[in-house]
Assembly symmetry: D2
Homo-oligomer: 378 residues x 4
């Protein structure tokens, strides 16, 4: 672990914090072939960037992400800014030969996402640069384990997927306006923010691709209080409900909402197959539930503690000691570093993430067409 | 309880049994203004009807339901036969001035259901006859209590409804063919059989009406083993997933399926409002979960044992002693008898049930139109 | 099912009702070799006995249980009176050659219970009379299934048993005085009333016998409101916590209480063995949880719906349709009738129940001796 | 946060790792009045200490804890070694005027624990040194919140406490011998290792002190495989079950075991009072369950996500984002640093921890006396 992997983090809010913690924590618990070092913190407002750098022991700051890309000693550009800036930064970084880790959703529009995926492909051919999108929930051990079981054939033939991402921070109609409610900044609402997570999780865990969606969306409250006493317009979806057809004849039921009163952060995925079923709920994130048809009269959903030897990422504490939300970011860091060291494509690639964006785009088009079945387009 | 209410049960399978048990059990636990007495059991095959009558202490049998209707001493025709026979029997009974309790779904087609609702209205005007459809889950104490809470304003303004009815008896592709898989006999598949329950429950508990649906359905396995070694065609839906718009701007997410591996009988309803949320799962049927926004940092879904004093139908055993599936039928009997004695319309009326049928019909039309938003028609 | 088994029910309160319902319901759902018929209802107050008889269609009443025993046409004396009357009635009935079903606890004192067990043995030798004690929870399908699994070796070697029976109807210090709070009438408090259930369940399911107990008990509130405005003395235990040594080196942890705020009726049993574990909670009574060590990294507690084909007493409704509290009484009736028809000893026998009483007695003696390990005595 | 608080960590196994992570992570998420800096890692084997230091960015190592105490620039001695070494190190450190954070259990014997508590008191008087014992679960937000609610009177009068700590790593009789199975090294078995946690948690959350215990313990397997093919003796308890009397007439039920098959790490505490109940399970550690009697017919155990604004330690991520096992160590670091900066006694103090040790000692004496009620002695 002597060779360093030098990283610049762009952005220092919620996601910057999660990434900084992960880069520092991952090597203390996992054997890594390269030693990640965050050497530069970038933020538009210098004093905030400095505070972030001080907190995380990052030696230098900049107020311009172009500076990070220009520096020869930096290997990785880690993009933790809002979605409307992803494309420009990521494409520039890739063209400069940097490896890129970009937060989800990959972009705010399908056009941007497609351009980013193309840039990643070209950069890889040109310079060996590698790009990954941060759908961190893939690295929640329970979901990783679910994926592994599916690959091992646990489900038999898959019939159905159901996935929900339920939050409630807008159920109060007087909750304040935030940037996530403006389509210009956020692209879409619940759909892009949390719907993207269940689209990625459902497709990745199941191994099936969404081929068509039929969606209804609602904006329940169209203006919300601003700090100045006025009201800010809401022009994104508050909730999105969509049915889908996946490859192999699988039927999907999806819901993403910020109005599920009492549900703080419930990402749920359930897969129903001929030989078994798998169910996951992020509010019980250290467990996955498994149902085996072969158990006959003794069959029932078994709640598996995924901290046992043999489970993914079981490198932290003894069995039975829970992990939290942030651990998935450390696992993401681990996998990214290992992929870079091996020169292998980390997943989800930008192409993977652009496909999720294409599904989001299809959902929006279907909703605009009152539920007409709509195929994602590349 | 001295005046009898004389009942003929038509049909003696699963539902006949549930009704016979209910008519006999209800008066032992509830004070009733009339004494229900099943005086005639009707079944096409006499020896089966006789066995049924012997089991339940029913004094007479007939192999022709017309005989039941012709008898002057019979007050109530209780229809427990498959859906394709409901309309003919119910309309004849109503026209003869009998009260009618008819199992759900009201009919196999919207046309039949509409005719039945019309017949009920006309019969009531003509003879005072009363008609009710047996959506028995309404009488599960937890759902009754949920309805009561909604009426009391527990939810504030309602934003969303999510409802699932998950079964798994077809997840095995070699499970045998049964009559429920033929549209001619069953009308539709999971949709009419169990989807009708969640449509009724979601609308009734919430007090909001479905105004449009966007649906996808799947038939995963199109032929199944027959006893003779051949295969029977499946021409009904195996699973139906539909989004919906309800009155008052409420958004709905629905799923009915017989392929949810490991889920034996999970009818779930969740309502999300500005002031609270209510969640119910039939696999935990003696409880309802309540979330109160006003509880602030102490808010969480509370699991309420609905056998306490003050809860609906709490006439059985001391608090904390669980009821089962069949108790809802006894409660249905109680409410039917009381309505008849009072000359008041029992609910769900045939009109209520025809409206559910209209939603089922809209779901089928939307599915045929690849998800296009479709309004139920009267 | 043509030969009748004629029954007299002594007592018509909560338990009389449960038994009357069971005798009537059991033959409608199960094939029985004899047809149970309740022919006599006995209660000290004639008008109450008559109301009970009317409710349940019982043709005759009496105010004296001796009359029931004297009648030659009565086969079974079903004792549903308070515990202080059990011994006298049961012994007289047995000496008269009647079969006896007696509610739990078998008696209020060990001396009485022992005498009853002896009387049952003698009567069986003399007349073939059979006696059973009504620990009805044994017939909850989940617990019956647990017993079956243990017999099949599911647990491997058993290490530990933990059992709780938690209720809360006395947690309010101003809850009214009732006869269950007087030792003269009730024998003991939470211990005999509900502790007896977990002692029986833990021993029966595990197949291990309690050989010593170390107990602490508390009476938290020593007087409670009477209807007349005065206060009635409480001289029984409100809660009993006891450790125990069972045969085969098994260690047990038990708690019975009426002060477990919020727990309405939580009878819980968990068995921990080398190869598996079994957990049951009466508040989720249609399920049992199973853990199989052999499942390795896929091991977790699986929640089994015990209404599937192959599960005990699965004669009611299709899989996934829940049973309630009262069904265990019907199962008890089924097993009693079958045993009587076969001339075989139904279980729990009076000897089994007297052994439970011996454990209760040991708990009381240990508590009186401040926890000193105390062996049950025959 | 400019003034540093210089720390030496003694020990680098499981607990050393947890502490190193906490000292580094706490200041990144919490505002601290002093900046904790681990400046020295101590371990008997130099190469292991060096590896640990490299992992955590600790500048220096030593193989002798006396060196750490001798250094003037070190403020805090953080003891993460096995229990048999705690007393010597802690007392020496305190006498040298160092602040001390010592892992639990405070010591292996009551005599040592008492001496440590005395040393802490004397050192505080002499030099202002502060000493704290690391019962880290107190800082699990859910338990902290439970304590806060109890202080606010949530429970009304407390009747009962039940607490379990269930693990299963010895349920396999062929699981290998480890040092925790030798009394000389570990003091006791499940009792000191995990029983100490529930004793501390139950007393601290409830605010009631254990005044007497009646205990049974078992050693189920008395020898286990050694790496060399031989077998190592087990002379500690495998499981301890004890009833207890707490101050104010509260009754307690406790169990600590390593043989609860399928339970990986289930620390459970439940408190039952006149006005409410609180339940916690470490396997669902981001939630606490609350029952409010005043809610009447709407009362039920509500599952509270304790990551909301207003909840303890809610400084990490947005509401609904789970914390893990290790976060309690960061919270412990936060509270320790704040107490040191303020010159106030951090809790649990050595006196608090010695009282827990006295309870452990009483449990062992009661078990040796076959359950006789035994009072802890100072």
């Amino acid at each position: 672990m002597t060779t360093p992997l030098r990283i610049a983090i762009i952005g220092h809010a919620f996601m910057g914090r999660a990434h900084a913690h992960a880069w520092r924590t991952a090597p203390a618990f996992f054997d890594l072939p390269l030693k990640p070092e965050v050497v530069l913190a970038v933020g538009r407002e210098g004093f905030k960037a400095q505070e972030f750098a001080d907190t995380w022991g990052i030696p230098e700051i900049s107020t311009d992400w172009r500076e990070a890309i220009a520096r020869e000693d930096i290997d990785v550009i880690d993009i933790c800014t809002p979605g409307d800036t992803h494309a420009e930064i990521a494409i520039a970084a890739l063209q400069a030969g940097k490896h890129v880790l970009c937060e989800k959703p990959l972009a705010n529009t399908l056009a941007e996402a497609t351009a980013m995926a193309r840039a990643a492909e070209e950069a890889h051919a040109a310079s060996g640069a590698l790009a990954m999108c941060g759908f961190s929930y893939r690295r929640t051990p329970a979901l990783s384990y679910a994926r592994q079981l599916v690959e091992e054939g646990f489900l038999g033939r898959l019939w159905q997927v159901r996935a929900q991402y339920l939050q409630d921070w807008l159920a109060d109609p007087e909750a304040p306006w935030v940037w996530r409610l403006a389509s210009e900044l956020a692209g879409s609402g619940a759909l892009g923010d949390i719907g993207s997570h269940i689209i990625d999780a459902a497709q990745w865990v199941s191994g099936h691709t969404i081929e068509g969606v039929s969606a209804l969306t609602s904006t329940f409250v169209d203006a919300r209080p601003l700090p100045d006493g006025g009201r800010g317009e809401v022009d994104v979806d508050d909730a999105a409900v969509f049915s889908s057809r996946l490859s192999g004849g699988v039927l999907g039921a999806f819901e993403a909402t910020r109005y599920a009163t009492g549900r703080k952060n419930a990402l749920r995925v359930e897969l129903s197959g001929t030989e078994g079923a798998i169910a996951f709920d992020l509010t019980d994130s250290n467990f996955v539930e498994l149902y085996r048809v072969a158990d006959g009269e003794r069959a029932g959903f078994a709640r598996i503690d995924v901290s046992q030897p043999g489970h993914p990422y079981a490198a932290w504490w003894p069995p039975g000691h829970a992990l939290g939300y942030e651990h998935a970011f450390s696992h993401q860091a681990v996998d990214f570093v290992r992929a870079v060291a091996a020169g292998e494509q980390p997943r989800p690639s930008f192409a993977d993430a652009a496909q999720v964006q294409a599904v989001l785009d299809a959902v929006q088009r279907s909703a605009a067409a009152d539920g007409a079945l709509t195929a994602p387009t590349a």
